[in-house]
């Protein structure tokens, strides 16, 4: 499952960040890496971007970036 498939209000854990280069690095620089817990707060009016919460702060990501983030349900 990727973050793009998550629903509003779901909490997930990052399994892997796919891709390479600047976009992947940017995600990692913002603290998204293996084991990070993410909560999908809400979608923007046009369902994109997605507001997520991690490490106590809020981040907006596009769905196209969310598709690079492989996740699993928290607690598994």
């Amino acid at each position: 499952m990727t973050l793009a498939e998550s629903k509003e209000g779901q909490t997930v854990v990052v399994r892997k960040v796919r891709g390479s280069g600047p976009s992947k690095r940017r995600l990692m620089d913002m603290g998204i890496s293996r084991g990070t817990e993410l909560k999908v707060e809400r979608f923007a009016p046009l369902m994109d971007p997605v507001q997520i919460r991690l490490k106590g702060y809020s981040l907006a990501l596009r769905r196209s970036e969310c598709a690079f983030i492989e996740t699993e349900h928290a607690g598994k």
Partner: protein, 694 residues
């Protein structure tokens, strides 16, 4: 002189710390990337002067974004004596990721642990001495917004310099450390980068940092280095199952969260923050856009009511005026006085029309501009601007821009009449992808900047006096519509290509710091006044002489004929061959030429064109009244002119900024040509379709 560099994440209060240290009157914004240049100042600690540099706010020090590269190059090339790393305590774990990278440079670091009060609200307390001991740095608790902790911060800086304590080395996982130490051995004594430790170079090589690797390659001694590097990159890949860049980023992440857990104590279960509650309303899928429109609309109404419509300032003669009215009363008085006491015709004309007319016309709108700046800064400081980017990203992307483009568009006036395209163009540096950046830069000047505001206000007062708020709202909406159209056109035909990642922090909301806000609004307004006082005065005088000479003494009562006869009139008349298709005569052409130097000059020049040769004693009405009474003018023409002013060539300072930001005159010239053509086409459509339908 000793050097201090201020570094930190965006939104951590970095610019605020810088302001407190230096007393510089500089903007404190609350959305990513407001500091796009290196701001500099001085501070005095124990009688010694320190040079302070405010680096761009960054989350990391990669070579991928301009901000990060600027910050990194400064630290490597200038090697400051101490780095003040401003850290948002309420966001400690993510902030530490940058701290770890700063520490790798082995420059003494003082951490300004900022916003501890918000951390407490989130439910945890940071132990500063433990944090300092773990990293081998000094930690000072600050609340930059209240100017607290600044003396301690200064003392810590001077102490750490005299002790010259380098930070500790934070070790990452053994897979990485083995490779790093081997590379270090090969690098030692070679001094490819004399100011940085070999460990840093080794880490950057493993991260496959383009800048560092290309530097090493050009330095020539790559034969021995690169086969070894390839081997280690492969080794890390085999051990971790990921590329080496990811492995190192993950190792830093892990180290940051380890340190975070170690020096933080959870005081209580964190409540749901007020920010989250506000977001659930303001970013709501249905309410969000509605709130956005309401806030922007109220902005106009408020500013106009307070600045121009409500007469709340008492005059000494018992009358009440609005702030705008106060200024125009003052300049009318000056003008009358000048006409009474100056006898020489040429001098009278020069002072009355060239100086008082031009400057007064612009100064009259100072209250409007000041208030607009106050409102906009409040919105920026509060954190709402980042939410605007969030709400609008999908929409903007459809036009070839991205959410962050909105920052440029807003700084240059996207929220209304306040703003300036020069910082707007510069704010586009936060966009990481060249093409997105270029498109944003090219459409940014079409927003309604603070200089276009007086032009609109004057024309609206003359031709749409009963619907001021609505007209300003319409012009605001049109500036967005046309910028987006232009962006789509550029993306389709001129600068085609893929779009970029959009990763943006939504910072915690806070009450705007009103002191900062007024200082900020005032310094922006002051800049405008200075512009009005110098450039505008100078150019207005040139235009006055272009209109006064060659002078015909024989026909003093035919001011229009004199103007047509002058140098300016001849230029304007020549342009009529083209401008007649959009309903503009030579007078407007002169004003538009003037507006190329600075948009507010459109009104100054119109003022000169229309008051020249007239007697101000008999005819003291302001320009608005004069235009609305003129038979040449109609609401349609005024509207076409407003749209033309909105869209045509950016002013000279903006063109210079575009040249600097794109690094090529090509784009600066292109921006002038394409926007003037665009403005002409739109004005043509408006003018002619309205005439056909009526």
């Amino acid at each position: 002189m000793l050097n201090i560099a201020v570094a930190g994440n965006p939104n951590c209060g970095k610019t605020c710390v810088f302001n407190n240290l230096t007393g510089a009157r500089q903007h404190v914004g609350n959305y990513p990337g407001v500091t796009v240049e290196l701001f500099e100042g001085f501070t005095v600690i124990n009688g010694k002067r320190f040079h302070v540099t405010d680096l761009p706010g960054t989350y990391s020090l990669t070579a991928y974004s301009k901000d990060e590269l600027v910050a990194r190059n400064f630290l490597i090339d200038k090697k400051p004596d101490v780095i003040v790393n401003v850290v948002d305590a309420s966001n400690l774990e993510r902030n530490l990721y940058l701290t770890l990278q700063l520490i790798e440079l082995k420059i003494p670091v003082v951490i300004a642990l900022n916003m501890g009060d918000i951390a407490v609200k989130k439910g945890f307390v940071v132990n500063p001495s433990r944090l300092g001991a773990m990293l081998g740095v000094k930690v000072v608790e600050t609340i930059a917004r209240n100017n607290s902790g600044m003396e301690e911060l200064k003392t810590a800086c001077s102490e750490i310099i005299s002790e010259s304590l380098p930070p500790r080395t934070i070790h990452y996982s053994s897979e990485i450390e083995d490779c790093v130490s081997d590379l270090e051995k090969i690098l030692s004594g070679k001094s490819f980068f004399p100011h940085v430790p070999d460990r840093w170079t080794a880490l950057k090589m493993l991260e496959q940092d383009e800048t560092v690797i290309s530097c090493l390659k050009t330095s020539g001694s790559s034969e021995k280095l690169f086969p070894v590097l390839e081997k280690y990159i492969q080794k890390i890949h085999d051990l971790t199952g990921d590329d080496s860049e990811t492995a190192i980023a993950e190792a830093r992440c892990a180290a940051a969260s380890g340190i975070f857990r170690d020096c933080v104590s959870i005081s209580k279960i964190g409540k749901r923050l007020i920010t989250e509650k506000i977001d659930s309303v303001v970013c709501n899928r249905y309410l969000g856009p509605l709130i956005l429109v309401v806030i922007v609309y109220m902005l106009f109404t408020c500013v106009f009511k307070v600045a121009d419509e409500l007469q709340w300032i008492p005059l000494f003669n018992g009358e009440w005026v609005s702030p705008v009215g106060l200024f125009s009363t003052f300049f009318d008085f000056l003008s009358e006085t000048a006409s009474t006491y100056i006898k020489s015709d040429i001098l009278k004309s020069m002072i009355k029309d060239g100086i008082i007319g031009g400057v007064g016309g612009v100064m009259g709108f100072v209250p409007l501009i000041f208030l607009m700046f106050v409102f906009i800064s409040a919105l920026e400081d509060s954190g709402y601007v980042a939410r605007i980017a969030f709400i609008l990203d999908r929409l903007l992307r459809a036009f070839g821009l991205q959410g962050k483009s909105v920052l440029s568009l807003i700084v240059s006036g996207g929220l209304g009449g306040g703003g300036c395209a020069v910082p707007g163009v510069m704010a586009a540096r936060t966009l990481r992808e060249e093409k997105d950046r270029l498109i944003t830069i090219l459409v940014t000047p079409m927003m309604n900047c603070g200089a276009k505001l007086p032009v609109y206000a004057m024309l609206i007062a003359a031709f749409f006096p009963d619907s001021r708020g609505q007209m300003m709202f319409l012009l605001w909406a049109l500036s967005w519509a046309f910028s987006l159209m232009a962006a789509l056109f550029l993306r389709k035909f001129i600068i085609a290509g893929e779009q970029t990642p959009f990763v943006m922090e939504l910072p915690v909301y806070h009450m705007p710091a009103f002191k900062n806000l007024f200082i900020h609004a005032w310094s922006r307004t002051w800049l405008y006044i200075k512009k009005a006082g110098t450039i505008i005065l100078g150019i207005n005088l040139i235009f006055w002489s272009m209109m006064y000479f060659p002078h015909q003494d024989t026909v003093p009562d035919h001011a229009e004929e004199q103007l047509r006869h002058s140098f300016a009139g001849r230029t304007g008349s020549a342009l009529e061959y083209v401008s007649k298709y959009i309903g503009f005569d030579w007078k407007i052409n002169i004003a538009l030429i003037g507006g190329f130097a600075a948009k507010e000059l459109v009104i100054g020049t119109l003022g000169t064109v229309y008051s020249m040769g007239d007697d101000a004693l008999e005819n003291p009405e302001p320009l608005s009244a004069k235009l609305s009474a003129s038979k040449d003018w109609s609401p349609l023409r005024a509207f076409a002119l407003m749209v033309f002013v909105m869209l045509y060539a950016p002013c000279m300072p903006t063109v210079a900024a575009i040249r600097r930001e794109t690094g090529a005159w090509k784009w600066a010239v292109f921006s002038v040509v394409y926007s003037t053509t665009f403005a002409f086409v739109i004005a043509f459509i408006i003018y002619n379709s309205a005439r056909i339908f009526s």
